[in-house]
Amino acid sequence: MRLVGRRLALAIPGLVGVVVVTFLLNRALPGDPAAFFAGPAATKQAIDEIRVKLGLDRSLPEQFLYYVRDLGRGNLGTSLTTGQSVVSDLVQRLPASLELTLAGLALAVGVALPVGVFAATRPGSWIDHVARVVTTTGVSLPVFFTGLLLVYVFYYLLGWAPAPLGRLDAFASAPRTITGFFTIDALLTGQPATAGAAVRQLVLPAVTLGIFAMAPIARMTRAAMLGVLSSDFIRTARAAGLASRTVLFTYAFRNAMLPVVTLLGMIFSFLLGANVLVEKVFAWPGIGSYALEALIASDYAPVQGFVLVMATIYVLLNLAIDVLYGVIDPRVRIEA
């Protein structure tokens, strides 16, 4: 528990840095939001009025103080494009991204870990080669291409998948928000049909992300397992007559998990922010596409909100990984 507290304390300077940098970065972006917001037909006077309304006429330090004050009140400003507060937009869209990312990651881990372990126990075998070819192909294809390919095959040609139009098809209504994950909420509120519909929408984008994330996980698992399997203590365990399953899972796998866990954290945060393309292809209402649209429209507030949320998630994620590391490896616990 002390470890968790210390880790959180260490994260604070990082978050402060993020606040400052996002503020400055957004002010440095090209484009005049006041002019954009006022529209092409606006007079100079109208633009100036809007500038005053947005607080853009003040000095940078002043703007920064207002910005920090608003942050403290949980106010991330209003999106000029959606007309809603950034906080409510993010609350609505973040679960969509999280649901998709977690599903994709779970899928990738579910496939990559067994493949990596299996490949490591039989290096040079056909399964090892197949695994290498498949994972390399997965990572070489850009995600939007994999996504389009899947849509083409499973929606257009085979008709197995529903239209790639967001989290639910037009005829289903969203379940009451509990966790924000449609699949879980639908089950919690007793709507199995809706849950099924949500899962069907989720499959293709999740597979798209999963295929992309699989390669590094499988490779790392294989490499880590190979390293551990040739170590002295595995030889001891085998000489002590422990069953091959015990040696493989209790002894080797847990040791090999250390680098894999680190990698998983990186992949997760990467996927969460970088799946804009997947969100675009599948019209998925996530935060990635939200931020991208705002950025194109010179809409500061959502971009700032997005970066802040991502940074916070990143910090929490690293914390979770450190804790997990401590659970797996006693040596980390001592050092802390």
Binding site: F233, A240, T250, D329
Partner: protein
């Protein structure tokens, strides 16, 4: 028994017709320079050779089971319970992220030599047996929290956990101070006496071997060059290599100048070798040494020498 390693630079014939017998309760010492095949012999017995190694010929019969040709299940059931091994470098030979108590428990649970409820008590008993102070606390420690000597003792506790009939100890006391070394070896002696455990003690420490072993097997470059009762071996070595080995070992009362190094090194086992692999280093070698086969002569009861011109 013959073992080959296939390497990038050709086939290494690591062991060639290595043969010796270990009887119940007996301690057999294997000596030789680094690279003479001592450890490979041990690994082959345990069935834990590197994947690049191949047992090309021979048998290792243990209680009616040929270890070299047994199925994986048979071997797994034998290892740890009947056959156990103590490794060198105890620090890396233990699982770094599992408490030592749990690691010993794993072995006990696997072989079910004690009832499940008694496993914890047995762990403490074993740790006490190998003279680890405060065993209750130590059982909950991780290897990195212990000294090398402590890890070595845990290693030994792990090996003798299921009371094996044959213990292969590869340099079991390297890195331990002299008193601990003596205590550990006394413990192994006692186990051999009380449980009839046979021990194969691998070491390059001739003093230790002389003191602890009933019989001695001398290895050179993957060959057994001489096998004899300990007393006979030290009284009158018959193979030139053994004689050299003894002469190069410090003794009490001997002067430094009397120590004679053995000329040359272990030959490259990838090359075509003469029948006697000591040929190039031997001062007694004659032309007939190049004619196969290498003889194995019994010069006295239980005293075998692989040499055409024994001393």
């Amino acid at each position: 028994m013959c073992v080959e390693f296939r390497t990038r630079h050709g086939v290494v014939r690591a062991l060639e017709e290595v043969r010796f017998i270990v009887r119940r309760g007996e301690t057999v010492g294997i000596v030789g320079e680094s690279g003479s095949g001592k450890s490979v012999t041990a690994y082959a017995l345990m069935g834990i050779l590197d994947p690049a190694a191949r047992v090309t010929d021979g048998r290792a019969v243990f209680g009616g089971l040929d270890l070299l040709h047994a199925s994986r299940q048979e071997l797994e059931a034998y290892r740890g319970r009947e056959l156990a091994m103590i490794f060198q470098s105890p620090r890396t030979a233990l699982n770094p992220i599992r408490t030592v108590g749990r690691q010993i428990e794993d072995v006990l649970l696997r072989h079910q030599t004690v009832p499940r409820a008694k496993v914890r008590d047995r762990v403490i008993e074993l740790l006490t047996l190998v003279q680890i102070p405060d065993p209750e606390r130590r059982a909950r420690a991780y290897p990195f929290e212990m000294s090398g000597g402590m890890c070595q003792r845990v290693m030994i506790a792990l090996a003798i956990a299921a009371s094996p009939s044959l213990l292969v100890a590869d340099e079991p006391t390297t890195g331990l101070d002299v008193t601990t070394q003596a205590a550990i070896l006394d413990l192994l002696d006692e186990l051999a006496r009380t449980t009839g455990m046979a021990t194969v003690l691998i070491s390059h420490d001739l003093g230790l071997i002389a003191e602890r072993c009933d019989r001695i097997v001398v290895m050179h470059a993957g060959h057994v060059v001489e096998e004899a009762p300990a007393r006979a071996m030290f009284a009158g070595p018959r193979h030139p290599y053994t004689a050299r080995l003894l002469a190069s070992t410090p003794r009490v009362g001997a002067k430094l100048a009397e120590l004679v190094p053995i000329p040359g090194g272990v030959p490259d086992l990838r090359a075509e070798l003469p029948p006697c692999r000591y040929r190039a280093r031997c001062e007694r070698a004659v032309a007939e040494c190049d004619e196969p086969p290498l003889p194995r002569t019994q010069v006295a009861p239980g005293h075998l020498v692989a040499c055409r011109r024994p001393l």
